[in-house]
């Protein structure tokens, strides 16, 4: 099948990432959709010195920062919402291992929009007048900062506003609920800025909780906000956002959210977390799922949003069929 883009997670990371990459993920909020499993694989393959673009922090950035894989980050929000401060990211900033450039959540969406449009800048009517404009982590000596959100004149009214720099990440790993093997995707829940990101990034890898037949996309084309023509590869991984939640698919694993963030609060805890939850499983999806625990998975699947998936269930390809398809592709490649 020439249009098939389904590849294993490890292969996607080998093929599309490198040290120093301008890497975007997240694009949702800290407890929901994010391609967290992609971040674990970045660490397994020892990627370093990443420049991370995360609309809002997630456990992925928290982990990458704790492990020392990120040297620069740009974010609109850096906490974990109800789970408190993001200890891994917080420590990396406080010790100076990671330099953070702060924006607001709307600013990050607008900068991705600017990247998608290939605009030279985006007019800024928010973030101006505050220290988001005046202070820059990337250029700490300039106060007020001159290159972060520089002042521009509105040519119509003559008033002074700001200019946001557009974002065009080298790679976006975007978590989606459902993808077909060609790279069409449906996101359940708020898409946050994944739509803009899918057009702003130079390359897009989808990380999908479930793979559906393309007939599903033909039934609901209005809901396919990421079409195959902007997608490089599709990675299949159930519970790809674990321990965060994926509307319709699984709930937040509250216990692991807390224990993970607690572990990332110290170097020793981070070491142990990497040993137990990053380097402990091979490239086999089933090993990853065993790590989460089959009972935990069953429990998290029984959530109040599971009805959201009902219209699409008939097209979801069984787990073993997707794995067989991946194996077939591997054989073809060999």
């Amino acid at each position: 099948m020439p249009d098939e883009k389904l590849i294993p997670l490890a292969e996607a990371v080998r093929r599309y990432t490198c040290d120093g990459l301008l890497y975007a993920s997240g694009a949702a909020l800290p407890v929901g959709s994010d391609a967290i499993v992609f971040g674990r694989e970045l660490l397994r393959q020892k990627r370093r010195n990443l420049h991370a673009i995360f609309h809002a922090n997630t456990q992925q950035l928290n982990l990458l920062a704790a492990a020392g894989a990120v040297s620069r980050a740009e974010c609109g929000f850096t906490g974990l919402e109800g789970f408190g401060f993001a200890n891994g990211l917080r420590r990396a900033v406080e010790t100076g291992r990671l330099v953070l450039e702060d924006y607001s959540n709307l600013a990050m969406a607008l900068r991705l929009l600017g990247g998608a449009m290939n605009w030279p800048f985006v007019p800024a009517t928010v973030n101006i007048g505050s220290d988001l404009e005046y202070r820059s982590g990337f250029a700490p000596d300039a106060c007020p900062a001159t290159n972060k959100i520089p002042a521009v004149t509105d040519p119509f009214s003559g008033r002074t506003i700001g200019a946001f720099s557009p974002l065009q990440p080298d790679l976006a790993a975007i978590h989606v609920t459902l993808a077909d093997p060609r790279g069409n995707a449906i996101m359940l829940g708020t898409e946050w800025s994944r739509f803009e990101l899918s057009r702003a990034a130079r390359r897009v890898v989808l990380v999908a909780d479930a793979i559906v037949d393309t007939a599903c996309m033909r039934q609901y084309p209005n809901l396919v906000r990421i079409p195959e023509i902007v997608v490089e590869a599709v990675v299949y991984c159930p519970f790809a956002a674990w321990p965060q939640g994926s509307p319709g698919m699984y709930e937040i694993d509250e216990e692991h959210m807390k224990s993970m963030n607690k572990a990332l609060a110290t170097d020793e805890g981070t070491e142990a977390y990497l040993r137990n939850y990053v380097h402990s499983y091979g490239e086999d999806i089933d090993n990853y799922l065993d790590l989460i625990g089959r009972e935990t998975m069953a429990r998290l699947t029984q959530g109040p949003t599971s009805f959201l998936v009902d219209p699409y269930r008939q097209w979801i390809l069984p787990h073993d069929d997707v794995l067989a398809r991946l194996a077939e592709r591997k054989k073809e490649a060999a």
Partner: protein, 267 residues
């Protein structure tokens, strides 16, 4: 209050007083945590026609099973009527100037209602001419800066402690009235600025001309003296300052229906 109700906690009083700021029919945006409880309390009690959204673009939803962990949590995705995006909610509906009211939290707030949620700096909290890393990194702006710039008015909800109430915040994450009268106009913000700082001890409102916040109400369990001692600037008292109305049994019951897991009763 009815005999069967547990007494109202300070956090609950803050949530109820914040909820009273929300009027029926308004277009409203709530952040995660206590501000969401305050907002949904208003819906459950006196403002059933509030048009509420989250900054991620979740519309028509009310939380189920307790305080959501985040604003895109499944607890607030289970009965939504529309899912859109951050650009839509924070941009089209808030930064545009359409949103009537927002609620934001604060780690530190100052006399002009400027909010810091970015960091705590050592050496007296002064960052200095060169930007340096904070001693304690906090959560950053999130959508609060966008609400502060764009919403017609917004309410700041914050625990009333001296360390949080500064003459001047170390870092302005979300603009209040900046350095006083006229400052917001200079930046052309479409939003009107903070209309109240609701705390665990009382309610502060801006002076109509100077925009400096002064005490407008204290709670039945607090006093002017306690509030002044927990405020890092020389807090003026509004001529009309008075004790805020005690929560009614109906208010407390409505709040507790929203706060299923008792998040506001833990302190």
């Amino acid at each position: 209050m009815s005999q069967t109700q547990e007494p109202c906690t300070r956090q609950e009083m803050m949530a109820i007083a914040t909820g009273r700021e929300i009027r029926d029919g308004e277009l409203a945006i709530f952040g995660v945590g206590l501000s969401m409880l305050a907002g949904y309390f208003a819906l459950a009690h006196h403002a059933p026609n509030v048009r509420a959204m989250t900054e991620g673009g979740i519309y028509g939803a009310s939380p189920i099973g307790g305080l959501p962990w985040g604003i895109e949590c499944n607890r607030i995705s289970a009965n939504a009527t529309s899912f859109t995006s951050g650009l839509d909610a924070l941009g089209f509906l808030v930064a545009s100037g359409r949103c009537d009211v927002g609620i934001v939290g604060a780690a530190q707030v100052d006399k002009y209602g400027n909010v810091n949620t970015t960091g705590i700096w050592d050496g007296g909290g002064e960052i200095g001419p060169r930007f340096r890393r904070p001693k304690a990194r906090l959560t950053g702006a999130g959508g609060a800066n966008d609400i502060a710039c764009g919403a017609k008015r917004y309410v700041i909800m914050v625990t009333h402690e001296a360390k949080r109430f500064a003459e001047r915040v170390s870092y302005v994450t979300s603009p209040g009235y900046l350095d006083g009268a006229g400052a917001r106009e200079r930046h052309g913000f479409v939003g009107g600025g903070p209309s109240a700082i609701v705390t665990t001890l009382g309610i502060l409102r801006p002076h109509p001309e100077t925009k400096e916040f002064r005490l407008d109400a204290w709670f039945p369990f607090s006093s002017v003296e306690e509030i002044r001692s927990q405020t890092g600037w020389n807090l003026a008292i509004s001529p009309s300052a008075q004790v805020a109305a005690e929560p009614t049994a109906a208010e407390l019951a409505a709040l507790r229906r929203v706060d299923v897991t008792g998040a506001l009763r833990k302190h």
